[in-house]
Symmetry: C2
């Protein structure tokens, strides 16, 4: 990244150690090189004063070539969020799903909007707004669906690169005339594959090693794709090792449709497997109603699941079973699934994942141990939002935590405090608006984190970095 300097971050660092446990590093230092990689994590550094010449010498850094960022007391660094399923093209539709469910929602709200983004000025407006909005909500990595349009999809990739968001950008493949409207579909399987290759080629030009932006193969969902286009995408996957994203088992009507359209496949999941698309690099969104056999198949293939609780509740799709998936060795992350999901925030998705897991528990007899087990904790919800999501998009060795060798995708979190007079304000005179989180001063760190998860919003995300680059800073 041109112009980037070595950086040292000082303060409290909170991240997922395991699913069950958060790690709190206080008075710590994380040193980030000019390539955005974490070169050292040290616990013995209470303030900038400790960064003396001797300590820097161990890193081989001169003091003059280092920028030092100190978190204020009460603030903490947290890994950036990963949104493992989001339709950038549907961003303007958030919240306006009405009483619809999946299939009528696609026809009424989705296809007309997506189609309109072949107007590149409109696409620029929508994609810029979506990237900025998700960045300031702490999303450092997003797996995006664009539209069928190559130029607009390429524009989304350009914008991610210039605004600095790590992204997987997928041109949407949909060529089945029985399902896709005439005004919005690839005219043939071959056209669908050709356009996909054009979009891949574009990303190769702008980010040759896919350091920040990567293409992703994106069969919309089985009903929208002819068998030959799915097989063609599988062939591209085998040749390029590019990741794949699609939808599975979101809604009962959709499942019936798939069963009718693919009678030779034993399940919705099997449709993808039968066409070569169920791989360790495949992200399956939703998976609300998958059977025991489908879960086994997904685990066997090493495919991943993006849990989208906001969308699943909004469209009355159902209640996905995260604990049940984990019990079956499936990797799970979170997706906003905008625009069916109403919120741009993965923090909101984490909150809803915890709440939805309680609705799942309500359906299980209290005496059954699964009742209690199915509830997700704060720690588990945050794991899904960071390390879980990182694993879903295949970046578990690069992002999601603060470990040496990983890249600095992070957010600085600050919470509001209440004065003795009962007046809420930003902690430590940072100015601005502390949002709806009010700390009274007696909270444990675990309670602070819980308050952030349940009442926090983008106002608490003070700064955001991707690969060492500062990409958002609240005024």
């Amino acid at each position: 990244m041109p112009g980037l300097r070595n950086q040292i971050f000082l303060g409290t660092f909170v991240s997922s150690k395991t699913r069950r446990e958060l790690q709190y590093l206080h008075d710590a230092a994380v040193c980030v090189g000019i390539d955005g990689k974490i070169v050292k994590v040290d616990k013995g550094c209470a303030s900038a004063d400790l960064i003396d010449g001797r300590w820097l010498a161990k890193l081989g850094w001169e003091k003059s070539e280092v920028d030092i960022h100190v978190a204020q007391p009460g603030q903490f660094f947290f890994p950036g969020f990963v949104d493992s399923h989001v339709h950038a093209s549907q961003y303007p539709n958030v919240g306006i799903f009405g009483k619809s469910t999946l299939l009528d929602w696609l026809e009424t709200y989705t296809f007309p909007l997506e189609s309109s983004l072949k107007d590149l000025a409109k696409a620029r407006q929508v994609y810029t707004a979506c990237i900025r909005r998700t960045l300031l909500n702490g999303t450092t990595t997003a797996a995006y669906y664009a539209t069928i349009d190559v130029e607009a999809t390429n524009l989304l990739a350009d914008l991610c690169l210039s605004l600095g968001q790590r992204a997987f950008v997928g041109r949407v493949c949909m060529d089945n005339p029985d399902i896709c409207p005439d005004y919005y579909r690839d005219e043939s399987a071959q056209a669908s594959l050709d356009r996909t290759l054009q979009a891949i080629e574009h990303v190769r030009r702008i980010d040759p090693n896919f350091d920040l932006v990567s293409p992703i193969l994106t069969p919309r969902f089985a009903p929208s794709c002819a068998p030959e286009s799915m097989r063609g995408l599988a062939k591209i996957h085998r040749e390029t090792d590019l990741p794949i994203q699609t939808h599975v088992s979101e809604n009962k009507g959709e499942i019936e449709l798939v069963a009718k359209m693919f009678p030779e496949s034993s399940s919705y999941t099997a449709v993808y497997d039968d066409h070569g698309l169920l791989t360790p690099k495949t992200i399956l969104a939703h998976a609300v109603h998958i059977s025991e056999e489908e879960a086994k198949l997904i685990a066997k293939r090493g495919s991943k699941i993006s849990h989208c609780p906001c969308s699943n509740s909004a469209l009355t799709s159902g209640t996905a079973r995260v604990r049940w998936m984990w019990d079956r060795d499936i990797t799970v992350g979170l997706g906003t699934d905008m625009g069916a999901g109403y919120s741009p925030s993965i923090l909101e998705a984490a909150r809803q994942a915890a709440l939805v897991s309680r609705h799942l528990a309500m359906g299980i007899d209290d005496a059954d141990p699964e009742h209690e087990r199915s509830k997700l904790t704060i720690e588990e919800a945050l794991y899904l939002a960071t390390r879980g999501g990182a694993a879903v998009v295949g970046l578990e060795n690069r992002i999601g935590a603060f470990e040496e060798g990983m890249e600095w995708d992070a957010q600085l979190i600050g919470l509001g405090v209440v004065s003795e007079a009962g007046i809420s304000s930003e902690a430590e005179g940072q100015g601005g608006d502390g949002g709806n989180v009010d700390l009274f001063g007696w909270e444990t760190w675990e309670e602070k984190i819980a308050k952030w998860v349940y009442n926090g919003d983008d106002r608490n995300t003070k700064k955001v970095w991707v690969k060492g680059r500062l990409v958002h800073s609240r005024r």
Copy 2:
């Protein structure tokens, strides 16, 4: 209210016409007298220029004695929210319920905090923060539980009056030593009643006609109250006509406890009826698991229900059935139920009411018409937040809509807009932060409202008035 002048509000006014329908008045004027009452609603007033002498003369107002407030294009006035169930004393605990359910949550989190508020400095801090936080989230009326402490309860009433929030303030009655801890309970039924009278007396002194603040009789819940204290409260109710608030049928363990403690009553609801507490002025919080017979009894007595979706999900209490209650002619409003409910916002409660109703639908077969019917619309969720809540607290003739003779409890809402370049900003140069709502300019009014409900927060609540008095204004 000393110093208050006549006021004219100009712009777009949105409010519930019926449960199913919002009313949109564009280019309208609402005229509010010095007593905070709406004296005229007129549709023919596009701007301040129209307020000429002739028009004012009809009101009997001089131009010099009128303040004119003009909503900017895109902004709209909306009735203030009613929070019909909230524990002011538990405000510091929002979000930190962990994996607990009702009864252990009370012991672990609630009683220690409530007890500590006998320290009046701490009570002032907590209550001030709670009132301010709910006001800036648009709550113009709140039905508060305080603690058992008379002085601290009186302080809450004082603060509501000085900060200008319409409120029902309840000293909590709990005298059953089998359920209430020794460190936090009224020592006898008589002590509980005496203290209740002291708290009532205080409000009579500070607001003799209960214009803004009213006492409310508050037996915590049946298990915490001896039969004689419940009968004593019923007697006070009959003598004073003061409203009553309590909890009913929130959680299965609690229901079993009530059945064991009150074997002579036919149901949890019947316990209150048997002790004279089930009246047209009774607010029953939760009512998650009430039976058909209980619903009939509640409807017969004309008691009201406060639906608390955030809390019910957080504590895994269950899924209350709003449509089912409406079908049985029960009046329903919304409660945040802080601190079990994690959010200070009734807008969040409305959003969760809509989402939770979809979880209810998921449990009903798709072919059953009740599946579709049980889902609440945006319009219905907003009705619950305003007119529904107003009826729950017995103020349906005074607040909840913009009608002549009602009082001006209102909020000015402004949403963010996205520029052509994709940059989000506040509409019409109002400055500040438009929050997470992004309008692209092509939305219908219905879609704008949906976006507000699903992504809005206190940043969209620009100003708040109670009884004509401006009580909050965002910088």
